[in-house]
Symmetry: C2
């Protein structure tokens, strides 16, 4: 299965001031596109930290999706960091620069900074904003503003699609994990193509456990769900 | 300044099904304790992935805070992963095991699994639950359930405190980043002890920018805020 790392850039995420909704939105979309997300990382607005993380993840995952840091203020260093990570220069992409100067007549030279992409990039249009994203090697770089990020993601979604969606089955049972651990262990052995998760909670009516199965194989998922439903009903009465 | 990495473990976070509120809660508390958070990472319930991430981060940061995977079902592998990361055995901590068997009489042997900590750990009591956390080298391991995680964190907060809190100043201006980029750049040069961030938005009344300053030096923060307020008011009228 194709693997992905999601790297979201921004001090406001790293300090906990803003929840990383871009990370979880991308994770859900990538699973729906059949891509297995192996890491969601939040890193600061610093060239060396971003470059180190991206060098590592570009080697480990088939695909890296980055968000944030594409503006033109001093804390926006993502273009510089990608150039550093891959050891290339930043150059002005002429067609992109011309387009930006035309569209942002109030501040053409400010907007033209957004055209300074790492050499070898493929620019990605920003349907809702100014700064383009880009693809460099196996790293897709998208804006940080959620609306702009989502619109740009949709333009690349089809080229990222790697297989059938990773679907899930979930059901809650009034029980504790200790009561069902044997069945969960057996489920893993009998249904190796399915991931098994269990999430305990303590509600007003006592403990319960949400059991979650995930797979990109619909038949395997259905078979595991049927097996598990029966086994748990038998166990719990 | 002491640095920290936060590593939250769990497939439900990695698939975007659950927001990583533990990550942002810990980030806010660590900043308040004067600790500089350099990474928030979400990794899957897999021994090798967790161990790789922790080996790297234990070297890079002064302090690593881990949450999740301390239950006893097959997807709970954090104790195993820590033992693998540091090349030590898992052993039953006798006092912890006795205590757990006494408290969980319905399933004493299930509960006793939680006492199988990596050799060399210092156990951390779980005021609201069963499975203890632990400290191994510079890695603090806490539960994944937010209520249990927060209660355990409070028991170690004082030993983590590394200096004065990282405080922030923030104000929103009706403007665009291109109008104030020169002032933000100058602020960084004149006030090197302060971090400067800017976050553009587009509301019903047009564009605005939130400007954020952060520092663990109250005097530096106050001086930078005063300088920036005046400079921005002069610029924007």
């Amino acid at each position: 299965m194709a693997s992905a790392a999601i790297v979201t850039i921004g001090n406001e995420l790293l300090s906990g001031d803003v929840e990383n909704t871009n990370g979880s939105w991308l994770a859900r979309r990538l699973e729906a596109a059949g891509v297995d997300v192996r890491l969601i990382a939040v890193v600061p607005d610093e060239i060396e930290e971003i470059a180190t993380t991206l060098r590592e993840q570009a080697d480990r995952a088939d695909l890296v999706v980055v968000t944030g840091g594409l503006g033109g203020t001093p804390d926006d260093v993502t273009r510089e960091a990608l150039a550093a990570a891959f050891g290339v220069e930043q150059i002005e992409y002429e067609e992109v620069g011309t387009d930006l100067r035309t569209r942002f007549r109030a501040d053409p030279e400010y907007a033209a900074r957004w055209a300074q992409l790492p050499a070898g990039s493929r620019p990605l249009a920003n349907p809702l904003g100014g700064a383009p994203g880009f693809l460099l090697e196996n790293v897709y770089v998208l804006p940080g503003l959620p609306a702009e990020m989502e619109a740009m993601y949709k333009t690349i979604e089809e080229e990222l699609r790697a297989g059938p969606p990773i679907d899930s089955w979930r059901r809650s049972y009034r029980t504790t994990e200790s009561q069902i651990v044997g069945i969960l262990t057996q489920a893993l052995e009998i249904h190796p193509r399915v991931r098994v998760g269990s999430y305990p909670s303590f509600g007003a009516n006592g403990p319960y456990v949400e059991v979650v199965l995930k797979s990109n194989d619909p038949d395997a998922l259905e078979a595991a769900a049927a097996w598990l439903t029966q086994a748990l009903e038998q166990r719990l009465g």
